[in-house]
């Protein structure tokens, strides 16, 4: 029985589907949502502005709020409790660094509007990288 599940989410529809899938198929499990902020981009605006904040943790939490609000909405519809965690920097590395603490990972196949070449070069396909390198089983939701 899988008792702890990590669901990495961004603001894409697929991420929402991944959470729905995890909640429906693992009704007994503890679900943790991970959202990564300060992701590398062409001008590094997000990452640099994060470092210039006085309280990094607070600022990161603030930026993750909309994604977590959506996650809570999805969980509330199914009367489930979820835990939320914020990460910073590279999404795949964040996920992989935590992977061993969980029994499995469920994530969306790709983020929305993330097919730009810069993003692909700097961040890559997170689902692909995670499923290739994760020490625990990974479910990719389309």
């Amino acid at each position: 029985m899988l008792s702890t599940i990590l669901v990495p989410m961004d603001d894409s529809d697929q991420a929402g589907h991944a959470l729905e899938y995890a909640l429906e198929n693992f009704p007994e499990a503890d679900v943790t949502i991970l959202h990564v902020v300060g992701v590398p981009s062409m001008m590094m605006g997000d990452a640099v502005s994060l470092t210039l904040e006085d309280d990094l943790s607070e600022a990161a939490a603030g930026r993750a709020e909309s994604v977590f609000d959506r996650a809570h909405e999805i969980a509330d519809e199914r009367d489930r409790e979820i835990t939320t965690v914020v990460g910073i920097g590279h999404p795949a590395r964040n996920i992989l660094n935590r992977a061993e603490e969980y029994d499995t990972i469920v994530l969306g196949s790709h983020g929305e509007d993330r097919d730009r070449a810069t993003h692909r070069f700097l961040v890559g396909n997170v689902a692909e990288t995670v499923s290739k390198r994760s020490p625990v089983p990974v479910t990719v939701v389309r």
């Binding site: 001008m43 605006g45 470092t51 910073i88």
Partner: protein
């Protein structure tokens, strides 16, 4: 025949200038427009004037390098037009795929490709240019690092007490209607801030002209059939201005929008540093990308700030994950010593201590920098292939 060629060249130059206008106006005025200090139209107008001034003065040095020094013979009109097409191609790729292609480096790449194919490359000059390209991002990065670690926090603390960007924004949105909530003291500082922002914007526009006008203008100047220098600069300025008034409306939101995530004070530091680097190198006749010096300074500031709790020596020498972890521990300890309400580790899962160094680990920075080298390398290869196949055009 020559007239047709010149006409084709002018159209290509307009295309290049138009796109340069879009991108450079975006990074020059994005932060100020985002902060509500200037309107997009005002920004484009100021941009056009200072781009011309930069192009007609300091830009001449770069134009000389591009049309006379990179290759041992003068750039002919037909070769110039072909080079313009490669610059245009780089811009197209940048627009379509959203990859950064530094125009000045693409231009040099295309001319160097021509030189390689025809055996006229001035190796001494190209070596000098490339060494500056290696050194400049490092300089920008380190200056940014010093600003991010030492200068910005200090200035931010002092400026914050008297004047925050908040009131400035709300005052400007009110337009000419004075806001009674703001005292006369604030208004003076608002005014001072606005003037400083405008001056720095003009300075950056000037450096954009110095470094970018030559890309659109220099290829047309070559040979007996080419345009006169002044006409070419005017043509390039007109195209850049047109781009500034039209597509820059979008880039000021997209590229500039990403920049305006960064606090305005930090953006001003970036603008001054990048403009100074760009103007200095242009004055020395070295083609340099304003966008690239800008992003390197930004990344430098972020890195300098992110690696704060670590000593300088450790920050430079760390290269493996094992050392990364050590530093992370150090950072946590430092934060706990400083802050009075540091969360106990393991107390609550969502309250774990974040380490800003994760945002700028060395591998990510190297990957980031390499992204900027792909464009110019491609343009060299393509131009080399082209001029090898069609030597008559050179």
């Amino acid at each position: 025949m020559v007239e047709t060629l010149l006409l084709v060249g002018i159209v290509a130059s307009l295309f290049v200038g138009f796109n340069i206008g879009g991108s450079s106006t975006g990074i020059t005025w994005g932060p100020s427009v985002g902060a509500g200090i200037v309107t997009k139209t005002t920004a484009a107008a100021i941009m056009t004037v200072f781009v011309f001034l930069g192009g007609i003065t300091v830009g001449q040095e770069v134009m000389g390098t591009l049309s006379e020094d990179i290759i041992t013979v003068d750039l002919t009109l037909s070769a110039g037009v072909a080079v313009l097409f490669f610059i245009g191609l780089g811009i197209l790729v940048a627009n379509i795929f959203g990859v950064p292609v530094p125009t000045s480096m693409t231009t040099v790449g295309a001319i160097a490709g021509l030189g390689l194919a025809t055996g006229t490359l001035n190796y001494e000059m190209i070596a000098e240019i490339i060494s500056w390209w290696v050194v400049t991002p490092i300089i920008g990065f380190w200056i940014g690092g010093i600003i991010g670690r030492y200068i910005y926090p200090w200035v931010n603390r002092r400026v914050d007490i008297k004047n925050s960007p908040g009131p400035l924004l709300s005052l400007d949105r009110q337009g000419t209607v004075p806001k009674p909530a703001l005292g006369p003291n604030t208004t003076t500082q608002e005014l001072a801030t606005t003037v400083v922002v405008l001056i720095i914007g003009c300075y950056m526009a000037f450096s954009a002209g110095a470094s970018n006008v030559p890309n659109a203008a220099a290829p047309l100047v070559g040979g007996d059939d080419g345009l006169e220098m002044t006409y070419a600069v005017l043509l390039a300025t007109a195209a850049i201005g047109l781009g500034g008034f039209t597509i820059a409306r979008r880039t000021m939101d997209s590229v500039g929008g990403e920049l305006s995530d960064i606090p305005l004070l930090a953006a001003l530091f970036v603008m001054v540093t990048a403009s100074t680097i760009t103007t200095t190198l242009s004055y020395m006749g070295i083609p340099i990308s304003l966008v690239m010096s800008t992003v390197m300074t930004i990344v430098g500031i972020g890195w300098g700030r992110a690696t704060r709790p670590v000593t300088f020596r450790e920050a430079v020498t760390r290269d493996s994950d094992a050392q990364d972890r050590e530093i992370e521990l150090g950072a946590i300890v430092a934060e706990e010593q400083e802050g009075e309400r540091a969360p106990a580790i393991g107390e609550e899962e969502s309250e774990e201590v974040l380490n800003a160094a994760d945002l700028f680990n060395p591998r990510a920075v190297i990957k980031y920098i390499s992204m900027w080298i792909i464009g110019p390398s491609m343009s060299t290869l393509l131009a080399y292939g082209f001029f090898t196949l069609f030597p008559g055009i050179a």
